[in-house]
């Protein structure tokens, strides 16, 4: 809204001022919506351009049409999607194999830790350093732990422990999946803990005390009171954590290392998709990107609010 127009004090002048103000208001709303819509275009263009390109033939369709225009009939093809699904299918399964358990376990452990550190009655003086370590762990660049992580998993005789699996016909490369579960849980705990802690500090202290007086032990209070009322927060944490783990490339790269491995996660395969001697197949890359992003996109569309809440806190 612009500055209030100055009036000369006469009745007609005041009226004109009001009218002017209204006109200014309209102009302001128009500009506002123009800005909002322009930004929408900005955010959607890369995605839209990718989507239409994924339906084009390569290289003819890709190079002879505008990148954001839908494919005309002669260049339209579903072939890239078929190839992408074929290439990424096993990766999707592999990703789900570690992302789902790692998400659930890290959320549970995060909730445990947050409960033990918020509702328990012990001195803040001793709690603070432990909390600080949890919070700081969220911000650690993973590069600082990569070499020891490789060393650690190299020295743990995980493959021997899991021998029954290999006997049952599971490819040995799946040790990588187990390693990814443990790794993602360990590094996921801090953020889950902090998210839950934010929620648990708002839980009425009197209610917990009431439950303790009702005869419930610390563990029973969690089981019967705190866990059931955490359901909304679990939704937030599970959604956020699943997105993070599914999307992460670094640990997959370090622990599984090659996209040709039978246990390769989808992001690892996608990173190398569409590269060939003849050049980059952008149509295939785009189709692959959408296939790989599908689970997180579905989660986001269905639970956008929970996701927003997760990132905001």
């Amino acid at each position: 809204m612009s500055d209030a127009p100055t009036t000369d004090g006469e009745q007609s002048g005041a009226l004109a001022g009001v009218r002017e103000d209204l006109a200014g208001l309209d102009g302001y709303r128009v500009a506002l919506y123009a800005a909002v819509l322009g930004l929408t275009a900005f955010y959607l263009t890369p995605i839209e351009s990718g989507l239409v390109t994924a339906f084009k033939t390569n290289p003819e369709g890709v190079s002879s049409t505008l990148p954001f225009a839908p494919p005309p009939g002669e260049f339209f093809t579903l072939e890239k999607w078929e190839t992408a699904v074929q290439a990424l299918g096993r990766g999707m399964v592999n990703s789900a194999l570690y992302a789902v358990p790692a998400t659930v376990i890290s959320a549970l452990l995060g909730s445990f830790a947050a409960y033990g550190l918020t509702q328990a009655d012990w001195r803040a003086r001793y709690k603070a350093p432990i909390l600080a370590m949890f919070v700081a762990a969220i911000f650690i660049p993973y590069q600082a732990v990569l070499v020891p992580l490789s060393q650690f998993w190299g020295s743990v005789p995980l493959a021997e422990v899991l021998t029954p699996l290999w006997v049952a016909g599971v490819p040995r490369a799946y040790t990588g999946v187990i390693e990814l579960i443990v790794t993602h849980v360990a590094y996921g705990i801090p953020i889950c803990m902090v998210l839950f802690r934010g929620y648990y500090t708002t839980v009425s202290e009197e209610m917990i005390e009431a439950a303790r007086l009702d005869g419930a032990t610390f563990a029973r209070v969690y089981r019967r009171i705190v866990f059931p009322i955490s359901t909304p927060m679990f939704a937030v944490v599970l959604i956020y954590q699943f997105t993070q783990i599914w999307n992460d490339l670094l640990f997959a790269l370090i622990l599984v290392s090659t996209e040709s491995s039978p246990a390769a996660p989808v992001v690892l395969i996608l990173a190398g998709l569409g590269e060939s001697q003849e050049g980059q197949d952008f149509a295939l890359r785009m189709a692959g990107a959408f296939v790989a992003a599908l689970p997180t996109l579905i989660v986001y569309v269905l639970f956008g609010d929970e996701f927003a809440e997760g990132v905001a806190s």
Partner: protein, 382 residues
């Protein structure tokens, strides 16, 4: 038998910087079986801390708490056989009323499901909330939640009820209704009850006895009328009663009290009581001040005054009076609701000799309390 004894109970909080805050300072109260004791005092006086120590939610820094003769200070809250009603009700939001009320029995007893259901339904009947049993707290009004919170305590059939300002979240009308109901239930169940409030109306009307706390120290424990008519000290006298007792700081000069604005003639008995004190505080309740229209003081202890403000309350008027000589710091008197007094009107106020209280100027301790007619105690004004 559940007699609850607090014996020199003390609570010291230590700040992170190492300094100590004494929240409860050697409080001793003996609560008989089935007695309804109200802990009352201004906020921060330590009443809630005392209650929480009885519940086991705060550790005890010193002294002992005995229930039925046995010390409970080293017992966990859940093993103390105590039920508590919280200010916020603290209902479990994801459980129905029935589940809320069953929870404690499930967690702390070996009762069968049928027995639990029976107890819950009996309690619901007692509180007239059987129709609410399958609703969740979110669907209940404040008053209904209050009843559920009470019900949750009742089904436990504990030795002691602890109540932490349970009515303070209700609106005025509901509060007075629940007040009566709570008393009825407590009488029916005959369970020892400790009730914390900052509201002296609740203290006066509900308690068999009240214990007045200030600054962590017990000021007086006695029946409501004792505390009203025979306050142990100036704090109790000022805290109990609404509008508050008027206080005037005076010097003792033989059988007269001399103040900045007026002098007061003492009876022989009163003069003896204050003989050893240099300064005293004269206290008189607003309803004991006799107000007559006119400007001439004709007898001792009558003072010409000017009406400052009149607050009509329907059944009575609170009249703020300033001394004619020095109208600052007016004192308050109450007169019948039908009496018409106007601001700036000149009236004579009389402080009857048998109605005044005298407190030691240095310690605040009561040196002399008002005279009471044998068997004709006036109803307390609250």
């Amino acid at each position: 038998m559940a007699r609850l004894e607090l014996d020199d109970v003390r609570k010291v909080f230590t700040d992170d910087d190492g300094s100590d805050i004494v929240a409860v300072d050697d409080v001793s109260v003996d609560i008989a079986d089935g007695e309804f004791l109200v802990l009352v005092g201004p906020s921060g006086c330590g009443k809630s801390t005392t209650l929480r120590m009885i519940a086991g939610l705060e550790s005890v820094s010193g002294g002992d708490i005995r229930l039925g003769g046995r010390s409970i200070v080293n017992k966990k809250p859940q093993n103390r056989d105590i039920a508590m009603v919280f200010q916020s009700y603290a209902l479990y939001p994801h459980m129905t009323t029935r589940q809320n009320m069953s929870f404690g029995l499930e967690e702390s007893t070996d009762l069968s499901d049928e027995e639990i259901a029976e107890r819950v339904e009996n309690a619901a009947d007692l509180l007239s909330i059987p129709e609410l049993l399958d609703r969740k707290p979110g669907e209940l009004s404040g008053g209904q939640q209050q009843r559920v919170a009470l019900g949750r305590a009742i089904v436990r059939e504990p030795e002691v009820f602890l109540m932490d300002e349970p009515l303070s979240n209700l609106d005025a009308k509901l509060r007075s209704q629940m007040r009566t109901e709570l008393q009825r239930i407590q009488e029916d169940l005959d369970t020892t009850t400790v009730y914390v409030t900052h509201d002296q109306t609740e203290a006066m009307t509900m308690g068999d006895r009240i214990a007045v706390l200030d600054g962590g120290e017990l000021q007086q424990a006695g029946t409501p009328l004792e505390c009203y008519h025979r306050p142990a000290n100036r704090f109790v006298a000022g805290f109990i009663g609404e509008p508050s007792m008027n206080f005037f700081d005076m010097d003792v000069e033989g059988d007269r009290l001399v103040g900045d604005r007026f002098e007061y003639a003492l009876t022989d008995e009163q003069a003896t009581a204050v003989a050893n004190a240099g300064t005293v505080t004269l206290g008189i309740r607003p309803e004991d001040i006799a107000v007559t229209v006119g400007s001439e003081a004709t007898a001792d202890n009558e003072f010409p005054t000017v009406v400052d403000v009149v607050e009509p309350m329907g059944n009575e008027n609170a009249v703020y009076l300033g001394f004619e000589a020095d109208p600052t710091n007016p004192f308050v008197a109450t007169v019948g609701g039908m009496r018409q007094l106007d601001a700036d009107e000149r009236v004579v106020a009389r402080f009857p000799a048998d109605a005044i209280h005298l407190f030691d100027g240095a310690t605040g301790e009561a040196l002399h309390n008002r005279a009471l007619d044998e068997g004709a105690e006036v109803e307390p004004r609250v």
